[in-house]
Amino acid sequence: MSQSKIQNPKSKMSRRDLLRLTAAGFVGASMSGWLENMAAAAAQDPQRKRSCILLWMNGGPSQMDTFDLKPGHANGGPFKEIDTNAPGVRFSEHLPRLAKHGDKLAIIRSMKTKEADHGRATYLMRTGRPPGGPIQYPVLGSLVAKELERPDSELPGFVSIAPIRFLSPGAFGSGFLSPQYAPLIVGENAGNFVVQGQQQDAAQFLKVQDLDLPTGINAKRAAARVKMLDEMEEDFIAERPGTASVAHRAAYQRAVTMMRSEAVKAFELDKEPKELRDRYGRNLFGQGCLLARRLVERGVPFVEVTLNSVPNAQVFGWDTHQDNFNAVQKLSGVLDPAWATLLEDLKAKGLLDTTLVVWMGEFGRTPKINAQKGRDHWANSWSTVLSGGGIKGGQVVGKTSADGTTVEERPVPVSDLLATIATVLGIDPTKQNPSNVGRPIRITDPGSKPIQEVLV
C-alpha cells in the first residue's frame, strides 16, 4: 500500500503541516465566517462540481407499491396509481408530494439483477460487483468521493447517514481505495429509538460527537499531541503496512481536520427554519435528508441517507415479507415529504442542477403477494429512480410485464445504472483505480453503458 503519505495537492503543504496548522487553529480561525456566504457563491460557481445524494431503501422496497404499480392485476395490491406533473409518469397514491415533481424524475422500471440475499445484493448494488473473490471493491460513495472531493475540503467526501451495516459490512467501506474515502457515519443505531417509539428529536442522533477538545487542553497542547502522534503513526505504518495501520492514521487526520473546521456546522440542524425542518419530517430520514442538503451545500460530493424502519410498521426496513401494504404506506409517508422537500430545498438553494438524487434499495419484491400479505425478495424486475440535476426528468425507462414478473423492455443491469450515475456526475466510468490485487479496476464493469435516454 502506498497511501501512507497523504498529500494535499492544492496547498502544496504536506499533510502534516496542514494538520499542525489546523490543529493549532490557524486555518480554522482564518476561515471563520466564510461559511454562510459560501453556499450562495457555490451555487453560482460554473465550475462547481456535482454532488450525489443516495436515498438508500434498506431491505428492498416494493416496486409494485411505489413506482411500478399494476392496478387491476392480481399481483397489484390495493394501492391506486396517480398522475404526476409529468405526462405519462404515474406512480403510487402514497407519494402525493413527490407527484408534483414528476418532471424531475427518471423512473427505471427495468432493473434486472442476480442477487436476492440482503447481504449479497447490498454489496452488488453499492459496489456494482457481486461479493466473493479476493478484490475488495469500494462502494459508490467512496468512488465518487475520490473523484469529486475538493482538495481543500475539511469534511469527508462521503457521509453516510443512519446506515444499517451488519448484513453487509463490506458494502460500506472504501475497499481498495484509500481509507480516506471511507464514509463518515452518523446516526448509526439511532433507528432503534425511533422503532421503539421514543419520540426524541431525531436530529440529536445526527450530530458528530466529541468534536471539542477535552477540558483544560488548549489548542497549543492539542497541536503538540497530534504532531507527536502522527510521527508515531508514520513509524508504525513503515513497520506494519496494511489496511488497518493506514486507515488508523487517515481517520485521525480526518478527525483533526474536522475538529478545527467551520464546515462541521453542517450538522447543526437547529440553524434551519422550523418550518423547513417540519416539511422534511421530524424523523430520522427526514432530518437526514436536510442534513444531506447542508452537506452538499458545503461541498460534500456524496451523501447517503438510509430509510429503514419507521414507527408502527412491524417489519425491518422495506423487508416486507408480511403486512407489506401497511408497512409500505407508512414508509411512503416518511419518504414522500422528505424527498419532495429535498428537491424543493435544493432548487431554492440553487443546488438542484448540480445534485443528483438517487433512490434505490438492494432489490425489489415479488410481484406475487404471499400468504402473509407480504412480498419476498425479487431481483428479476424492479425499479430505481434518478432525480434532480443532470438527468432528463419526466420519463419512465423500461417496462415490466403485466404481472410484473419479467422485464419486457430495456433491461438495466446494475453496472449500467452505476455507469449512468457516474456519467451524470461528470465521472468517466471507464477510469481505472489501482486495486488490492495489483491490477487496475474500472469504476464500473467493462461493457457497462450509461442509460443514454436519461442523460441530458
Binding site: 442476480k114 436476492a116 440475499d117 449479497r120 475488495q136 469527508p156 444499517i164 451495516r165 451488519f166 459490512p169 463490506g170 467501506g173 481509507p179 471511507a182 463518515l184 457515519i185 452518523v186 443505531n189 439511532a190 422503532v195 421503539q196 442522533f205 460527537q209 466529541d210 468534536l211 477538545l213 477535552p214 477540558t215 497549543k220 497542547r221 497541536a223 503538540a224 499531541r225 507527536m228 502522534l229 510521527e231 508515531m232 503513526e233 513509524d235 508504525f236 505504518i237 513497520e239 506494519r240 503496512p241 496494511g242 489496511t243 488497518a244 495501520s245 486507515a247 488508523h248 481517520a251 485521525y252 480526518r254 478527525a255 474536522m258 412491524q314 406475487k368 404471499n370 419476498d376 425478495h377
Partner: protein, 546 residues
Amino acid sequence: MTQQRWWPLACLALLAAGPALGADPPAGDKDALALAAKIDTHLQAGWDAAKVKPAPAADDAEFLRRVSLHLAGRIPSVAEVRSFLRDPAPDKRVRVVERMLASPRYVTHFTNVWRAWMLPEANASFQARFLVPGFSAWLRKQLAENVTYDKMVHELLTAPVGAQQAQFVYGGNQQANPSAFYVAKEIKPENLAAATSRLFLGVRLECAQCHHHPFADWKREQFWQYAAFFSGLKRQNQGDFAVPGTEAADSKEITIPGTERVMQAKFLDGSVPKWKVKEPTRKTLADWVTSANNPYFARATVNRLWEYFLGTGICDPVDEMVGTETKPSHPELLDELAADFAAHKFDLKYLIRAITASKAYQLSGVRTHPTQDDPRLFARMPLRGLTADQLWDSVAEATGYRSGGGALPPGVFVANNGNPREAIVGKFADLTGKATEFQTTILQALSLMNGKVIEDATGLQSSEILLAIVDNPFMTTRERVETLYLATLSRLPKEKELSRMVRYVESGGAEEAKAPNDDEKQKRQAQALADVFWILLNSGEFLLKQ
C-alpha cells in the same frame, strides 16, 4: 448510576517489580506441542514452495501482548510484562498460555468471542440484545467447566425451546439459557438452518433458500431438507419479539414456502437419518453434527479458531468451506488439525495450546520482506482491529479504570446513556466484518481523542495511575516514559522513541518558552507526561492488535 473510580491498586501493581503472579502451572501437553510442530512443517512447506521469507519471530513483549489479547481479551498489566520479560525460562511462552487458559479471564473473554459468533444479531438488533445475558451465562458455564466443544454444541442443538422458555428468555437475568440462540434466529427453521450450518459445519447454505446457489453446489432442496430438522419449532407472535411456543419435537418435514413441495429431513452430506422411536428430531441432528465422523464439524471449528488466532482461515471465508470454489491454502494441515481435534475429544483448550505454540502464531507483525504480504501464507502476523470488548478492557487495564455496579452486560449497547464504557464500546461495536480489514473510523478517533474516558485517564486531576508515575520521586523521566510504554504498548520504548519523548517532557511539552520557576517547570513536565500517555493511548499500536 454507574460508579467508577481510578483504581489505586492498579497503581501499586504498576510500580511493583516482583513476580507476584504465582507459580506457573506445568507446561502444555506433549500432544499439543507435537501438533504445533506439524503446523510448522506444513507452513514451512508453503513458504518454501512460494519462496517466501517469513517474518522473524516475535520478541517476548510482542508475543505476550498478542496472546494476552487473544486469550484474556485485554493487554497485559505492567507487572505481567515486567515479570515475563525478566523470566529466563525457555518454556515461558507455553507456561503463560497455560496460566491464561486457567484464569477466569479466559472464561470471560471467550464468552464474548463465542457470543459474537453465535449471537451476532445482538450487535444490530435491539430485541436480540435482551437475549445476551442469559445466553452469555450459558456460554460462561460451558467454558468455565471446559465442556468439550461437541458436548457444548450438542446441548445447544437440543436445548428445550418451548412455552416454558418463553417466560424468561427476554428476562435480562443471568439464568443460563441456550434457547436464546433460537429466539435470536426468530425460531424460524430456515434461519436456524442457515446459522447452524455456517457456525458448526462451515457451510453457507442460505442462498440456496430461495434458489439454487449461484456459485456453490448446494441445491434448494438440500437447504430445506436440512431446515426440516427444525420444523417442529413453533413461534407465538408477539410483535417484534419472537417468543417460542410448544414444539412438535418429532416433526421431520417442511414445505418449501410458496410451493407444494414437502421436504423430509436429511443430513447435508446426503445421508438419511436413522430415526429412533421417540427420539426428538433435533437430537438426531445433534448426534450427527457433533460426531467425530462428521465430515464438516471438526474442520469448521479448527478453521474458525485458526482464523481467530492468525487472521485468515486456512479455508477463507470460514463459513464457505464446502461446495464452493473456495480452496484451502493448506489442505493437509486442515485435515490433520481436524482429525487431531476430534481425537482429543474436541477439547478447545487443546487446540488453542497447539496453535499458540506454533511458529506461525509466534511470528512478528513487522514486515521485513515483500513476500510476506499474502495473508494465506501466514508469513507475518497481520494487524487487526480489536473487538469492542478487547478495546474497552485494554483501555481499562492501561488506565486503571474500573466501573462498579450498574455496568451493562457484555454486548449490550445503549446509545447516549452517559455510561463511559458504552460511549466507547458503542462506537467500536463488532460488525462481523473481517478483522484484518478493520478501518478505524473518524468517530472512533474523535471519541478517543476528546471523549470523557481518555480525558479522565490522562488528566492530572483524575488519573491516579498517571499521578502515581508523575509523583514518584524515585523515578527519572526515562523511567516514567518507559512505564507509560509498558502500560499501553506492553513493551519498552526503542531508543529513538525514548529520546523523543524524554526530550518532549523535559523541555516542558507544548510550551516553547522557558519556565519562569521550578514549580511551573514541574507542572509543565507533568502535563507533558499526560500528553505522552494520551499519544500512546491514541496510537495505532495501542488500538490495533498484531
